[in-house]
Subunit: 214 residues, 2 copies
């Protein structure tokens, strides 16, 4: 994944045609597109391949299974054109290692703390442990919430030079520039670009906000 | 899902044609088929619909995301023909509630403890809490490992009359009859049937083993 605009466009919806058209429109202003299961269930796994011809595709599959199934999911996504896959660290060392080994050139990002209210009950309690486990297993980077920039800084202390992708910018309240200032390498932006009447202008405005702190 | 043979066939592989042919062969000896993401990534989400015309389909998607994404995944799987969806409980109350609300007539099963070695690090520590959370959110049942029948009995104490589906029978070492004796409603059996030279005979033998303790 290149590191130019530092923007990853998240598509959290199910309309395959809209996904393709928005990515086409904003591709110069993003480093990658992040898609997840709802789009695959609706538009088919061919969507990974189609989007990968326009930009890097991060499959945000939140993989959370036993090692053999993790391996098959990562292999399947990479075979379809994914450049990166997001997996949970909650499943422990063997599952995380299976993801890293199956990636073969693609990147693996681990979720430690989840950003929604329910993420506090179990995941937040173990976020630092999971970050250390991710380091041990050799993941390429981590997900840390832009809505809580202090948590980005905490995770950064544990993971050294590994990459941080930071969701929650825009509609969810986080600011792109403050996430980058706190140590994120990329911000993940969804609705503020995707549902904007002018997606290209929205992406370009975000890019300018980020450049102001670089 | 009917409760006759108490056998759920797990297809943990990626060959769509073999999946259809094995289900066709053993359908009288199973109550449902359980599929997961590797098959969907390889053969497409249409596989859910195709199999649902032969038997009940449990989508073992191990859903572990924020509430809105959980909702979209459950809705997508149910729209394709899933009769049940398996979700994680470690994402907390809001995500689990989103799954139950999105199911609309389909069933939601929650994973508490995972059966692989890495499952001990984080999930086993919170298994009872997660079972109680599942009860609070109104899930239809739980997953508990046949490889540790004493854990089935522990979970049963918390969940009353809710259903337990129990994986790990056969190749992984668990016995169908001892899982059912410990309180499981259904056993999930994969390779011992799927990879048998005679799948129909293997399923029928399992059925006989289960009937011996009913």
């Amino acid at each position: 994944m290149r590191k130019e605009t530092r923007i990853i466009l998240a598509i959290d919806e199910t309309d395959g045609r809209k996904a393709v058209s928005v990515v086409k429109e904003v591709r110069d202003h993003i480093d990658a597109v992040k898609i997840n299961w709802p789009l695959i269930l609706s538009a088919g796994p061919e969507m990974i391949t189609k989007l990968s011809k326009m930009t890097d595709v991060i499959c945000d599959l939140k993989v959370a299974d036993i090692p053999n199934t993790v391996r098959l999911i990562v292999e399947g996504a990479v075979a379809r054109g994914a450049g990166a896959v997001i997996v949970h660290a909650f499943t422990g060392e063997d599952s995380l290692t299976a993801a890293v080994e199956a990636a073969k050139g693609a990147e693996i990002y681990a979720v430690t703390e989840m950003s929604h209210p329910g993420g506090v009950t179990f995941t937040a309690k173990h976020a630092e442990e999971m970050a250390r486990l991710g380091m041990k297993c050799g993941v390429d980077g981590f997900i840390a919430p832009a809505t809580r920039p202090e948590r980005i800084a905490d995770i950064r202390k544990i993971i050294g030079a590994k990459k941080i992708l930071s969701p929650g910018v825009g509609t969810q309240g986080g600011s792109a520039s403050s996430a980058i200032s706190a140590g994120a390498d990329y911000v993940i932006i969804g609705r503020s670009i995707y549902n904007s009447p002018e997606p290209r202008k929205a992406a370009s405005d975000m890019e300018r906000d980020i450049r102001s702190v670089l």
